[in-house]
Every structure is written in C-alpha cells, then in structure tokens.
Amino acid sequence: MSSSSALVVMRGVTKRYRLGSGPTAATALRGLFSRGHFDEVEAVSKVDLELQPGQTVGLVGSNGAGKSTILRLLAEITPPTEGRIELRGRPSSLLDVGAGFHYELTGRENILFSGAIYGMTRAEIREKLPRIVEMAQVDRFLDTPMKRYSTGMILRLGIAIAMHVDADFMLIDEIISAADASFQRQLESRIGAYVRGGGAAIIASHELELLERLCHTAVHLDQGRVVRRGPARDVLDAYRADLDQKPDSEGVERKPVLSK
C-alpha cells in the first residue's frame, strides 16, 4: 500500500487539551500571549494512521482512548497540536449526530440547513430529500418542528443526511449502537455497500462484533496511543483478551501530563 493513494494519512499526530476549570479573563490573556504552564492531557499521542479507498478501519479502546478526537481531527473540527494530516477528498462525518439541528425548525428545514453545511446544493438536497426521509422514517413529521421528534427520529435523520452526502470517505463515531436493531442492520448494510462501491470509512465503536463484520483493519488505542494494529479479527481478539485480563481498566482516569 502506498500512501500516495490514501484518502487519509496521519503522521505523528498529537492533540493536547488543557485541563482546568475553563477560561477566565486572566488565564485567557496568558493563553493568548504566552505558552504558560497548564495541566494538559494528551488525547491523541503520536498517532500514525492511513485509510485507503475501499477500506474500513475500526477504532477500539476504552473511553478516553482518543477515538473521537482522531475523528474530530480528521473532520477538521479541531486542529492538531503536533504532526501532519493529509486528506484527499471530502469526508462525511457522523459525529455528534443531531447536535447540528435547530429544534425550532422543521425536519425539512433542518435537512436543507444540514445539507448546505455539508456542501450540498439546493437542487442536490431536493433531489435526495425523498431518500433521506425514507431512510430516516420521518415522512409524517417532515413539516413538524424538530423539538417534537423522538430521540430515535433525530438520530435517524442525522444519520440519513450524512449517508446521502457525496463523500470520498466517512467518519463514524459510536452512533450505530444508539439506533434500534432494525435501523442498525440497515445502516450496517449501507456502510458495507458504500465501502464496496469505492468509499472508505473509519468507525469508532465499542461494538466489537459490528467492527468485526464491517472492518478490514482495526486499531486499538489506549490513552491516546496506538497499542496494536492489524487485521480486524486479530486486533479485536487481542483487545477482548485484554479486557478479560483487567476487567477494571474500563474508564480509568487518565493521568494529567504537566507540559514543559
């Protein structure tokens, strides 16, 4: 595999977040004008990652392992602290699905709005609208304000919009398990078809069986570092074995790293 055709290349990417009670005027001024001493945590630490067309990469690890941060870096939501990311083509991101909706607007209006932010034209959205509505199963509620929607409907609509973006690869963050069983199956087959059709995806999930079915490659992360990578089955088996060995490790607090 040469990196020249890769959709995503991460090289030595580190992301540090500051810890603390949030900004005050005093810390803000220090933060803007100096590189003072802050308690920091490395959410992602010197990570290398590649995604080739037609490939699905699964990210596993306990809470705080850095899975979501990697997806947020690739979605250009937050910049890296160190390292280099190369992106070829356009991603469609399924992160925080539903967070981008405005609950006073109707489903139809939200589809128009989200579509525009994803870079779709009005004509493109109108053309795709029937398929989005069908997948989300919200046809009867299309002209109802979103605040009357159930959690499941909001989730399905968010996913359905993202699945209809013309994207070169998808970034999927732990959303599949939140949907009901029949939607999960539908989503799984759609993601599979999308990747076989030349797309690619990076999926972060705690659902190991799902990752095993969807992914070719898996990466096991722990406290921001890559612990293991390789064929999905091998990595996931090893991850399961790790979990069995130290059942208390899930969700353990990370040690803050004092920088400089």
């Binding site: 949030g22 803007l32 250009e76 890296p80 083509g89 925080d96 006073e104």
Partner: protein, 273 residues
C-alpha cells in the same frame, strides 16, 4: 483524485479567508435564512418586532431630547422623523456587532459537528439586522411622509448607508466573537458600551448641539459618518463628506485586523468553548 489537503498545527490558512467563504457561500446564506426563520417563531407580534425595537428607541430619544430638553433638530420635518433617521443606521450597527459577538459561543454545537469556514458565523449574524433595517427603512418612509417630512430623491440610495453600518457591525463583531470565547466578560460589557456609544453619537440630537470642547468625540466616532450621511441622503442636506470618508477609512483599519485576529483565534475556539 481530489487534491490533497494538508493539516498541520500551523496549516497555511488563506490570509483573510474571504475566498474560502465565497466557496462556502451557501452556508452563509443558510445561516442567515435559519436566523430569520427562527427569530420570531412563537412570538405574538412575529416579524413586527423588527420594527418595534427601533420605534421604541425613537419614542424614548424624542421624548428625552425634544419634549423634555427642548432640543430642536434644526431641520424641516418632525423631530421623530429626524431621530428615526439616526436610530435606523445605528441599530443595524449595534445589532450586527452584538449578535456577531455571540455567534461562535451561540453556535458551539455547529462548531463541534461540521467543518465550514468559521467566519460564516459572525458574518451571517449581521444578516438578520440588515433585513430588519430594510423593513425599518420602509417604516421610516411612511413615518416621514405622515409627519410632513419632505424626502429628497437621494433617499433611494440611503439603504447603502445601512449596508455600511452592517459592515461596521461585522468588522467589530468578528473580532469580538473570537475574543468572547476566552473572555466571557465582554458579553456583559457590550450592552453598556453600545448604550454609551449611542448617546455619544448624534442619533437623538443634532451634532450641532455638541459644544466645541467635546467636538473630538464626534470627530473620532466612526458611526457619526453613517448616521449623518443617512439623514443627508434622506432629506437632501449637504453630505458630511469628511466624517463619511473618515468612517470608510476607519472601517478598513478596523476590519482587516479584526479578520486577522479571528483567523488566528477561531481555529482553537472549539477546544476552549
């Protein structure tokens, strides 16, 4: 194969981000559209609020300066129409600036969800005040006609001044929107600042009322240009060329650093917000 996008901690970003914004102009359009749609939903008066706000200012300022302090506008027509001619350009500015200032923290959910040029948020916040001002402009024409104010033919280009006021609002608001993420106190100060600033601008009184020793306040205030120009265009008075040029030059002098600051700060906003 699509072109490569390289992201590093110091990724090369376009200087002011205008070109990127033009590429994503649909986002800008839909943000304004959403603002206008959501704004007066579930209010009894609905879009009429857009007119009620400036009208209340007109009534208060006219009562205080004209009825109580017996100030004369020195121009033909009613004092209320005179005040309206100042309130309109002022309101676009103040509303644009304060709405833009809250645009990043108010849309944190979008920042954490999608990639799009962050500049679209404070800029789009100026859309609704501008639309409100256009409605207000029509009401101004009606009020002027009803109170016997003669309007000049140049009133047709007066909306351009409202556009300039909105630009001033965005120039101030873009930098504020990023600064507010780190220093929330700014949001508490803004209403007071704009109130004081309005009273220091000849909105409810004519500039001729200001004694010589405070003339510098008028000379240094960049909003005097739009306010005086709007009135001059509407009623056919002499154009205040000096303060208009000063305001236009100051607009660039404030706007460019504001964009540069925003570009530097907005990328890291999401980690702090």
């Amino acid at each position: 194969m699509a072109q490569v996008k390289i992201i590093t901690p110091r990724s090369h970003r376009p200087l002011l981000g205008i070109a990127e914004l033009v590429r994503h102009r649909r986002v800008l359009y839909f943000l304004v559209w959403r603002d206008i749609k959501v704004r007066y939903k579930q209010t009894a008066l609905g879009a009429a609020w857009a007119v009620v706000h400036p009208l209340i200012n007109v009534v208060v300022l006219t009562f205080v300066f004209h009825s109580l302090a017996n100030v004369q506008s020195g121009a033909q027509g009613s004092y209320a129409a005179f005040t309206f001619g100042g309130v309109l350009p002022w309101t676009v500015f103040a509303a644009s600036a304060s709405r833009a200032a809250g645009a990043l923290i108010g849309n944190a959910h979008l920042l954490g969800r999608y990639y799009f040029p962050r500049l679209a948020l404070p800029l789009a916040a100026c859309g609704a005040p501008l639309v409100d001002a256009m409605v207000g402009f029509v009401v101004y024409l009606i009020l002027a006609a009803a109170t016997g104010q003669t309007l000049a033919g140049t009133v047709a280009v007066a909306p351009l001044v409202l556009f300039m006021s909105a630009l001033w609002g965005s120039a101030v608001g873009i930098a504020l929107s990023a600064a507010v993420v780190w220093i929330r106190d700014i949001r508490q100060v803004l209403p007071l600042l704009f109130q004081a600033w309005m009273l220091a601008t000849p909105v409810g009184y004519p500039a001729s009322l200001v004694p010589d020793k405070y003339a510098f306040v008028i000379a240094l205030n960049p909003m005097v240009g739009p306010v005086e120009t709007f009135r001059a265009l509407a009623t056919g008075g002499p154009l205040p060329a000096e303060s208009l040029v000063l305001s236009a030059v100051a607009l660039v002098a404030v706007g460019v650093p504001s964009l540069l600051f925003f570009r530097a700060a907005s990328q890291r906003c999401i980690d702090v917000i």
